[in-house]
Amino acid sequence: MMNNIIVLPLIIPIMVGVILVFLRPYVKTQRVISLVTMLGMAGISLYILNKIQTEGILRLDFGGWEPPFGILFVADSFAMLFVLTANIVTAICLIYAFSSIGESHEKMYFYPFVLFLIAGVNGSFLTGDMFNLFVCFEVMLLASYVLVTLGGKKAQLRESIKYVVINILSSWFFLVALAYLYGALGTLNMAHLSERVAEVGQGPLLTTISIIFLIVFSLKAGLLLFFWLPGSYSVPPTAIAALFGALLTKVGIYALFRTFTLIFYHEPSITHTLIGIMAGVTLVLGCIGAIAYKDVRLIASYNVVIAVGFILVGLAVATQASLEGSIYYVIHDMVAKAMLFLIAGTMIALTGKTKINEISGLIRNYPLFGWMVFVVTCSLAGIPPLSGFVGKVLVGQGAIESGSYILLALAFLSSIVVLYSLLRIFLSSIFGETIISVEDEVPLKKGMIISIVLLAIGTVSLGLGAEFISGYVSDAAHTLFNPSVYIEAVLGGNK
């Protein structure tokens, strides 16, 4: 099915972002326009998602060039679920930014760059062409380079140099992989690639190429190669860190799922085993990091790493149940990680301290905030009825079905570590002797607590309403598990 609407998640933020550049001095106008845009896009994404359920996978061939000759966008349930969640989370992070980011950021093109970032993220989710994926990655990354350096504090400049260099390097490796792929198969359309790989068989050469892709996307996703992540995610302002923690690694995860379920799925004993090993090591290292540090931002960053490992366990075992579980978990993780980063940033904003052993007794000063910390702890640990539960159960079920007991054990042990690392924050910083007297109490800004509560509502309703989204998720997993559905939708001609 051809449909023009699926290009809107890419076009709207870019157009609005360009307009906002010219509205630089008018902070209030920028706020209203950017929030309305994000909410509108969430609405559009929901509309597209529902349209896919009735009409099947949608696609748009740019310039009328039929696949496999032109670039195209393909919207299946998997991509749209990511787009929808990403847009909602961004809207909520914007609400947080209104009251926390400060006028100097807002006048230095903060909102346009958030919109360019989300344009790149949406484009990466929707594209059906490998080279276009590279371009969308770059749109997203360039916006993220600006956002991570915006403000220009010493620590920011120092960490952002590493972040930028490592991402530039991985981008060039991405191009190397693309060059090999084009040289070997003569096409870059994902569906066509999948068809050709199935025809010629995934020999040693193609498997090697797939491993270059694995390295590139692992760098972006923070799978095993996450050494750059904790530093660069803990320096930018809270709202930006939350956006990064919620969205950027998910784009890498999306690319891994797309490549290794659609194109390179013929040699699971090599590629998927490798992903499994990497996921296992990531879980262990992430757990060590989450326990080792006392800085709330670093604890939050290592929790991102653990989640990446957990989600990739679902890809490594690659049964339909585990894929479904991973999708649930990604959706949950976008919401809960944004919440965790916002909470960590709020704790620092309220007390001026970053170490958990220096903060104590916040629940007396800010009762609602204290309970929100408890909600996010339970949610990330996967306690029912919150949203992490369904994903964890399904990934576990998949791991048992395929007999990957080591990964199963690591995945569930990591949940306990997550629970421990967050309870540590809760017990030492939220409970305990209060350190802030009533006179010194910094008022908790409305925008901050509203956005955190909105995310809490999100995680509760995702848990309670799992039934409601299960239709979308199982459709997404069905497409991932049966590449022919995707190929048929792209190459099957205009019906």
Binding site: K154, A155, I161, I168, L169, L175, A179, G183
Partner: protein, 112 residues
């Protein structure tokens, strides 16, 4: 011809690796720039060097050269131009604020 170009790519990658592994930030940036050129040549070579006519259906006779690698490289060059410009400015700004261009000194401490 392909062999020659592949050798050239190898030399460029070796130079880039050497530069990227040094401690000076400007050398690292130059390294990424050289690496991007190597990758662009790689795309061109793997797409097949000139084997036929310009791909204008009515103007020239078959066989045609594949035009796609050139389109890909054009896009990649623009992107590499943008990111190189960005990181040069970033490095200069960091040098102004932190007062060093040595990556070892940019490691940072845990107490800041």
């Amino acid at each position: 011809m392909e062999t020659l170009i592949i050798l050239l790519i190898g030399i460029l990658v070796a130079v880039a690796t050497y530069l990227i592994l040094s401690r000076n930030i400007i050398r690292v940036i130059l390294g990424t720039a050289v690496l991007s050129h190597a990758v662009h040549l790689l795309i061109l070579t793997l797409g097949g060097l000139k084997t036929g006519n310009v791909p204008l259906l009515t103007e020239a006779d078959a066989p045609y050269t594949d035009a796609l690698p050139q389109a890909l490289i054009l896009t990649a060059i623009v992107i590499s131009f943008a990111v190189t410009a960005f990181i040069l400015v970033l490095a200069y700004r960091a040098y102004q604020d932190i007062g060093t261009d040595d990556l070892d000194a940019l490691r940072g401490t845990n107490d800041e």
